[in-house]
């Protein structure tokens, strides 16, 4: 019991500490791939500190919602991120939130962010919120369909159980799992405002989605929102890693060595996924906004196909 809570708290601290590093690493790798030197991998930490120390400017007609939303968004994303097994399974909270809950918690964060974008009443905030909700209307069901596939195969919606199943003798790649993986990756790109869908580095007005919603934020509010965004990226990578490359994760009641191995494996998975993500981003161009529904629609159809294949192929336990 206490060990479970210890693992849970360690995980909460770990994801919080690692998230900016992951963002920094993706930027660094991207810069190197583009033959630039790029800022240090620790730059996001410095950015957060700088933002926190700066004066916060709030628009005149902003309401309490505008000021409260960043903290609530950060908290829901953080809680969602602590539900995904990273270096060890058997977390104390894993009995409280399965993978559907994780999707829904991210939905709550997005809901609040979209409202915050509308609060000041500017046209850019509206653009961002409106497009974000349109993307979500395809990305969220696609994600759920992928989740359904995995849950049907493993006979559980708990991430630790799915992860354990994939490690077991019946785990491994089959056609449904492959389709679900592709769907999840597409959703992850869309939900994290990565390149073919949105550009995290852009400030060109008409192409922004995420940046447009948070345009009015500054100072500590912006810092909290940036931290939440990097947590979300970490969450998606952890989720995909936990399900599709579950090797090395420390099991229930493991010793100190297993934890060390788990931590090392987790760090390695993050590094590999960060590299693959950036490699993909440098290879493709950003889409027009109204091409994105097609892109996300592919994910939805793949997810649905994967689920239907599961439903008709055999009777899972």
């Amino acid at each position: 019991m206490t060990q479970e809570w210890f693992r849970q708290l360690l995980q909460a601290a770990l994801v919080l500490g690692l998230a900016p590093l992951l963002s920094g690493a993706t930027r660094k790798i991207r810069a190197r791939l583009l033959r630039r030197r790029g800022p240090s991998v620790f730059q996001p930490y410095r950015d957060l500190l700088k933002l926190i120390r700066k004066e916060t400017v709030v628009a005149e007609n902003a309401s309490w919602l505008f000021r409260a939303a960043p903290y609530a968004i950060f908290a829901t994303t953080w809680v969602a991120a602590t539900l995904v097994p990273t270096f060890a399974t058997g977390l104390s909270l894993s009995g409280d939130g399965d993978v559907i809950v994780i999707v829904a918690l991210l939905g709550t964060a997005r809901f609040l962010l979209a409202l915050a974008g509308l609060d000041v009443g500017t046209s850019f905030g509206g653009i961002g919120s409106s497009r974000e909700m349109m993307f979500a209307s395809l990305a969220e069901p696609a994600m759920l369909m992928a989740v359904f596939t995995l849950s049907l195969i493993a006979g559980s919606t708990q991430l630790s159980a799915i992860s354990a199943f994939m490690l077991g003798p019946n785990g491994g790649l089959n056609i449904s799992i492959a389709l679900a993986l592709v769907a999840l990756i597409i959703v992850a790109l869309g939900e994290n405002s990565r390149i073919p869908v949105d550009n995290p580095a852009t400030h060109l007005e008409l192409t922004m989605v995420h940046e447009a919603m948070i345009l009015e934020y500054s100072g500590r509010h912006l810092a909290v929102i940036e931290a939440a965004a990097s947590l979300k990226l970490l969450l998606y990578i952890s989720l995909i890693a936990c399900v599709f490359v579950p090797w090395g994760t420390a099991g229930d009641g493991a010793g100190a060595v297993a934890y060390a191995v788990g931590l090392g494996a987790y760090a390695a998975k993050l590094a590999v996924f960060a590299f693959l993500l950036v490699l993909f981003e440098t290879a493709v161009a950003k889409m027009r906004v109204f091409r994105v529904p097609d892109f996300l629609g592919i994910a939805l159809m793949l997810g649905l196909l994967a689920t239907i294949l599961m439903f008709v192929s055999k009777v899972p336990r």
Partner: protein
């Protein structure tokens, strides 16, 4: 203690309904004075609270200790049987709880009515009718209650009769209600059979699946039209918003639940053991209803109509649960059937809470600004802070987002969907994941819809003078909305208690129940087994609260303390005019482009004048109500055409009339002769 006799609870409930009926004529006199109006609503509130309490007692009493009252009036050779069994008691708790709070709101809000005499007598009669439907244990009193409910609510819809739009809504409603009532009448007639035993226990004994199949179609038409299943939903978005707002809440949040009850009673309880294919039409209709309901809602800019369309979506979700339960029941999977039914009834409860809350909120906005059109609202979070908080809770809850209640029932529905590979028929195994995808899609679209509803109404800058001058609503209304909001949270973090209360219903209807949930640590719920799935709403809520507070504390502790208010940045091009904000139409435009071009045949026409020409550039969007055009317009054309033809009969000569009468007589004689 009078509670010891078996049917004292039924007597208590029946006398409560009797009091409500008695209140209706009193309302005529009470409507003359504001105090009388308040007292009438207060009486409704107290009686409904009492009825909810009685129903809760019934739900907690073992079924063997329950008794019904038998009254020797009714149809010839029939008798009236009244009383709650677990199924009707569960629905009675749900509808009377919501009705009590809505009546509390009306104590403050009802004073704004322009013509109270058109509302007061019908309001208690409407509630009494709904309760009679639940109390009825025979077909006759069920239908009497049903018609009372339909007609009283029709009178309330037409209470603001000055606008042509409302009169049309009332007409469509009346026609649909008549048709629905007729379908139910036929359904009961078929079930009772030639023997004519109209009491439910007699029907249960005589039930056979052969008749049941026709009853299923009739129940889908009769109860489904009242609930708002596509394509019989057309009256709902017209009639619900036309009534005064607290009545809208009653119609959308409560009356649709009575319709769901009617369906469950007919199909799960009376129609006998289900056949395997019964679930297919239910699931198909439910899935389409869910998706179309939310898409219609997204296209709507009128706040109350948006909410009404969204009721259609939620009814779809409820019927998905019911359809799944029916499939599992037919397939002999008792535990899964119980889970799906719990999900459906939980959603019934949830929807009665948040939809009532949202309609009450829209009523407050309407009173404060005189506007229902979101394009003329905005910025109300500053002027109406309490209403805004309550409405926000309702919006998050209805979008099925944790930690509120809407998520729990949706999560349970998903869990039921994930059990469906166990179903024996491959057709269902193919259908159910598609329905699951529709449900997932509609959940995400609902979130978009309510970002729009809250964002356009309460956030941003006011888009009209009325919105700038809005004032917060009265104390009664505010408290009622806050009570609803608190219940939304409570049901979300302590779902185990709700699930346990539904246990006796599933035991009665599908012969199985979920394991007790409320005693689990941290009030988590484990519907099947802990290795499969679990949800701990309370712990997650506490974690989110702690994380929010800790972050806010730490960041503010170390952050620079200066906060400066300045004009909006807006990428350097702020515009003083509120008209440059995103509107409800522009917010929904991307979704309209993605989904609307097929569903609504949406077309955009841009008129762009040549450079130098000072004419106005125009953007026109054509949307088609495809359901109306496919199902209703042909019927209307047919009826109108026939009426035009028959119109000639009014202008015949006396000779022709005599001939007509003679011909009719001959034909009748031939018919009678051949029989």
């Amino acid at each position: 203690m009078p509670l010891s006799t078996p049917h004292c609870l039924s007597q208590l409930a029946a006398s409560g309904v009797g009091l409500l009926f008695a209140l209706a004529p009193i309302g005529i006199f009470a409507a003359r004075r504001p105090l009388g109006i308040r007292l009438t609503y207060a009486a409704c509130m107290l009686i409904c609270a009492g009825l909810a309490g009685v129903a809760l007692l019934v739900l907690l009493t073992p079924a063997s200790k329950l008794g019904f009252i038998h009254i020797p009036v009714g149809l010839p050779l029939g008798r009236t049987v009244l009383g709650f069994d677990p199924l009707s008691a569960a629905f009675a708790v749900i509808i009377n709880l919501a009705t009590a709070i809505i009546s509390g709101y009306a104590i403050g809000h009802g004073a704004h009515a322009r013509e109270p005499l058109r509302i007061m007598p019908f309001y208690p009669a409407f509630i009494a009718g709904m309760n009679l439907v639940l109390l009825a244990q025979d077909a006759f009193s069920f239908l009497v209650g049903w018609e009372f409910m339909s007609l009283a609510s029709w009178a309330l819809v037409v209470s603001e009769h000055n606008s042509a739009e409302n009169r049309r809504a009332a007409l469509v409603y009346l026609i649909m209600a008549t048709g629905g009532g007729l379908a139910l009448l036929l359904a009961f007639g078929l079930l009772a059979g030639p023997g004519g035993g109209y009491a439910f226990d007699q029907i249960r004994l005589a039930a056979s699946s052969g008749v049941g199949s026709i009853v299923l179609i009739l129940a889908l038409a009769g109860a489904g039209s009242k609930a708002g299943l596509v394509p019989l939903h057309a009256w709902l978005p017209l009639a619900h918003p036309a009534a005064p707002s607290h009545v809208s809440a009653l119609m959308s949040g409560v009356m649709t639940k009575v319709a769901v009850y009617g369906f469950v009673r007919l199909i799960f309880d009376l129609a006998g053991p289900p056949l395997w294919w019964w679930s297919i039409p239910v699931l198909l209709v439910a899935g389409i209803t869910t998706l179309l309901g939310v898409l219609y809602a997204l296209m709507e800019h009128d706040l109350k109509r948006l909410l009404a369309y969204h009721t259609v979506e939620n009814i779809g979700i409820i019927f998905i649960g019911l359809g799944l339960s029916l499939a599992f029941k037919a397939g002999g999977l008792g535990a899964a059937a119980a889970l799906a039914l719990v999900a459906a009834i939980f959603h019934v409860f949830n929807h009665s809470l948040f939809k009532s809350l949202l309609f009450l909120g829209s009523g407050s906005v309407l009173t404060a600004t005189g506007e229902r059109d979101m394009e003329h609202l905005g910025g109300l979070i500053h002027r109406m802070p309490v209403t805004a908080v309550a409405f926000l809770v309702g919006c998050i809850a209805i979008s099925a987002l944790p930690p509120f209640n809407g998520f729990v029932s949706e999560w349970l529905t998903f869990q039921a969907i994930l059990l469906s590979p166990q179903l024996p028929q491959w057709i269902q195994r193919l259908l159910v994941p598609a329905i699951g995808a529709m449900l997932a899609c509609s959940a995400a679209l609902a979130a978009g819809c309510f970002v729009k509803a809250f964002g356009m109404t309460f956030l941003g800058r006011p888009r009209s003078g009325a919105a700038t001058a809005a004032r917060e609503t009265d104390r009664w209304s505010r408290s009622a909305m806050l009570v609803f909001a608190a219940l939304c949270l409570l049901a979300g973090v302590l779902p185990g208690f709700v699930i346990d209360s539904i246990g006796s219903v599933t035991q009665m209807v599908v012969g199985s129940r979920l394991s007790p949930q409320a005693a689990l640590p941290w009030f988590r719920i484990i519907p099947i087994n802990p290795a499969r799935s679990a949800y701990g709403g309370l712990l997650l809520f506490v974690m989110i609260l702690i994380a929010t507070a800790a972050t806010a504390f730490i960041v503010r502790r170390f952050a620079a303390h200066s906060v400066r208010r300045s004009p909006a940045w807006d990428c350097g091009f702020p515009d003083a005019s509120p008209a440059t904000q995103y509107t409800a139409g522009s917010f929904a435009q991307p979704i309209r482009r993605v989904f609307g071009s097929v569903v609504f045949r949406a077309r955009e026409h841009v008129t762009m004048p040549k450079p130098g020409d000072t004419a106005v550039a125009k953007l026109r969007v054509d949307l088609h109500d495809t359901i109306w055009e496919a199902f209703y317009a042909p019927v209307i054309r047919l009826v109108e055409g026939a009426a035009d033809r028959l119109n000639k009969l009014q202008f015949l000569t006396i000779r022709n009339y005599l001939m007509l009468v003679f011909a009719a007589l001959v034909i009748l004689l031939i018919v009678v002769g051949t029989l």
